[in-house]
């Protein structure tokens, strides 16, 4: 797709989650996004983003670092398909996805 930007982040530390069923929230629509959280091997938290809004890497990093600080979990991969959602919507979707995962609550 033209105009899409791919971003990848990885965060260390946090409690490694026991195996869980993947969680999918949100929709791929203008101003919105889809978040998929799946278990992954290893002790990190990996985030892969495809976004239609180019040039916001530093803001994504800040939003995701905040997410990781809040939940402090590891052993998962987060895949995001974004269509220009604001950071407020991104954080909300991430929290919704986490609450759908058994054992993710501190």
């Amino acid at each position: 797709m033209t105009g899409m930007e791919s971003l990848h982040f990885a965060f260390d530390g946090g409690r490694v989650l026991a195996p869980f069923a993947p969680a999918l929230v949100g929709v791929v629509a203008s101003g919105n996004l889809e978040v998929l959280i799946e278990p992954a091997t290893g002790t990190g938290c990996r985030v892969d983003i495809d976004t239609s809004a180019r040039g916001f890497g530093p803001i994504w990093e800040a939003v995701l670092r905040d997410f990781h600080d809040r939940h402090a979990v590891a052993g998962l991969v987060v895949s995001i398909h974004d269509m220009g959602a604001t950071p407020a919507v991104v954080s909300l979707r991430l929290d919704q996805a986490m609450s759908a995962i058994a054992g993710a609550q501190p």
């Binding site: 905040d66 604001t86 407020a88 909300l92 919704q96």
Partner: protein
């Protein structure tokens, strides 16, 4: 009359008589009644170069036929007019400058023409006296900007020239009073001439000429917000407003801005507000246009009264059926009045809540952006502490206590304070940050040679900043540094928000200056659109029992 003409104390009256005599000689003018095709000749006969002219441009109702006529006068005969009008919304409002008919402008709001106004100013086609708030401009109509000729709009006239404005009375009484009682001339365009008016809004002896417009006056539905477009984040912010501010202070009387954020609050009262047990305790008396989004709250018995600046298309029958809530005439239809409602919103309301495009770290906010001169409208009246207020209410007293607690000397004198809430998502559309280090207003002031940056609401009037990240209570800040970090602390991931001092923000949070959704007992995951009392235009129609009839463009069924 000749003795009058000779007196140095009655020159304005003699001048008026001379103008009327010129008009009386025209074909197509019989007493007060003017044929539509004689209107340009009438304006040329009545208006003199350099006159102050009010071309009624309200927020909604427009004297559009007279506006077109004014663009057709000969600039040889009529030129250098000084336009004094509250709103510039039609292209004709600026055409008169481009055509060399007018040269100076004093106004309040120019949202729809903001870019072209900036352009014409840059080209030297006009000079701006000042950008006002509504009440301020109306005030100057009676001091130093009294119109010589006013071109106004009404729905109907009778043979004597009495006027019925319909529900959009808006600015008309203020304009006509200033003009008619200072030897000026009032010309009204009307949609129809009838034998008996439903009611008299403007008496005939304040009106000089009436012309039947070939088309009904243009009215814009400005305050209709489709609930389908309200986002979950707006629901979250509305929950925080209700629980963290309205309930906290016991806000009884208030004015809402016109955005989706405040529409969300209106739609959450009968659901979330009800659940919190707040019915009857908050939001009873309103200074507000008849927002369709308020229908569910009215129907649920939350609302005791609504006084309005203007009306809203589609709400006519609903208002007619709810005279206990709205101000209506003996004919049953709404009587609005912008001047009175602005005064009411300023002096008689505990709270104003609205949105902005930009806010700086002192809390100053502005809707001015580069290349656009949009003006202020009413927000600065609503969004300013009423220093002349003396009547007490629990909300006003609590805000005043919070602001003054522990202050020495004159700053500690007990008094109340108006709650002024700025409700903004940290990022606007296209990821434009709402929080900035420097407002565009400063650069605009320089470009347009304004004496001051066009700040809509001054930071020292703002009491609360509400974003999706939390509420900053600026009343509790004791110095500029605390204020700055209280604002940064709710500015989210904007560059300004990321510059926060984290330790200081946590200290402010511990003191309750900053409150996160969790601190208010709100889980953002509960903020779903299911909380909205109406989720579509159709729901609003249903809530009104079929009385609300949305304009066609809002119907998708």
């Amino acid at each position: 009359m000749s003795t009058l003409a000779d007196s140095p104390w009655t020159r304005q009256r003699s001048n008026r008589a001379a103008r009327l005599a010129r008009a009386a000689a025209l074909a197509g003018v019989r007493a007060k009644t003017v044929q539509a095709d004689a209107i340009v000749a009438l304006l040329e006969a009545l208006i003199e170069p350099g006159d102050r002219v009010c071309l009624e441009g309200d927020n909604q109702k427009q004297a559009d036929f007279l506006a077109r006529a004014l663009t057709q006068v000969s600039p040889e005969r009529v030129h250098d007019l000084h336009m004094v009008q509250s709103v510039l919304s039609l292209p004709e409002h600026l055409d008169v400058f481009e055509l060399g008919i007018a040269s100076k402008l004093d106004f309040s709001f120019s949202g729809p023409q903001a870019a072209r106004l900036a352009q014409l100013l840059g080209q030297g086609k006009l000079q701006i006296g000042a950008i006002h708030t509504y009440l301020e401009l109306f005030g100057r109509y009676f001091i130093d900007l009294t119109p010589k000729v006013s071109l106004i709009a009404a729905q109907a006239a009778d043979a004597q020239g009495n006027l019925y404005t319909g529900p959009n009375t808006e600015d008309t009484p203020a304009i006509v009073e200033a003009t008619a009682f200072k030897s000026g001339i009032v010309i009204a365009q009307v949609d129809e001439i009838v034998d008996k008016l439903p009611r008299v809004d403007i008496p005939a002896d304040w009106v000089d000429f009436v012309v039947r417009s070939p088309e009904p006056a243009f009215i814009e539905p400005l305050f209709t917000r489709d609930p389908a477009q309200i986002s979950e984040i707006q629901v979250l912010m509305a929950m925080m407003a209700i629980k963290g501010i309205y309930a906290e202070y016991g806000v009884q009387s208030l004015n809402h801005g016109i955005g989706f954020d405040t529409a969300a609050i209106e739609l959450l009262l009968p659901t979330y507000g009800e659940r919190l047990g707040l019915k009857g305790k908050i939001c009873r008396n309103w200074a507000l246009n008849p927002h369709p989004a308020l229908i569910p709250a009215i129907e649920a018995g939350w609302v005791e009264s609504v006084h309005s600046f203007g009306s809203e298309l589609g709400m006519e029958d609903y208002i007619r059926a709810r005279p206990d809530v709205f101000f209506t005439g003996p004919d049953g239809s709404l009587r609005s009045n912008r001047a009175f409602c602005q005064a009411a919103g300023h002096y008689a309301c505990d709270l104003f809540i609205g949105s902005t495009l930009q806010m700086d770290m002192m809390g100053n906010s502005s809707t001015a952006t580069l290349g656009r001169i949009a003006g202020f409208g009413g927000a600065p009246n609503m969004g300013a502490d009423a220093r002349g207020r003396r009547h007490a209410s629990p909300a006003w007293l609590k805000a005043g206590r919070e602001a003054r607690d522990g202050l020495p000397g004159v700053r500690g004198t007990p008094r109340g304070q108006k709650l002024v809430v700025q409700m903004v998502e940290t990022f606007r559309e296209h990821m434009q940050p709402a929080f900035v280090e420097t407002l565009d207003a400063w650069q605009l002031a320089e470009q347009a040679h304004m004496p001051l940056p066009p700040i809509m609401i001054y930071g020292d009037d703002v009491t609360h900043v509400l974003t999706e990240e939390g509420i900053a209570n600026l009343l509790l800040c004791r110095d500029d540094e605390e204020r700055e970090h209280a604002i940064r602390g709710v500015a989210g991931f904007t560059p300004s928000g990321q510059k926060r001092d984290r330790a200081m923000v946590e200290k402010l949070r511990a003191r309750g200056v900053i409150r996160r959704p969790a601190d208010l007992g709100i889980d953002p995951r509960d903020a779903t659109r299911n909380l909205l009392a109406a989720r579509s235009m159709r729901d609003l129609v249903r809530a009104s029992g079929g009385l609300y009839q949305p304009p066609r463009r809002f119907r998708n069924w």
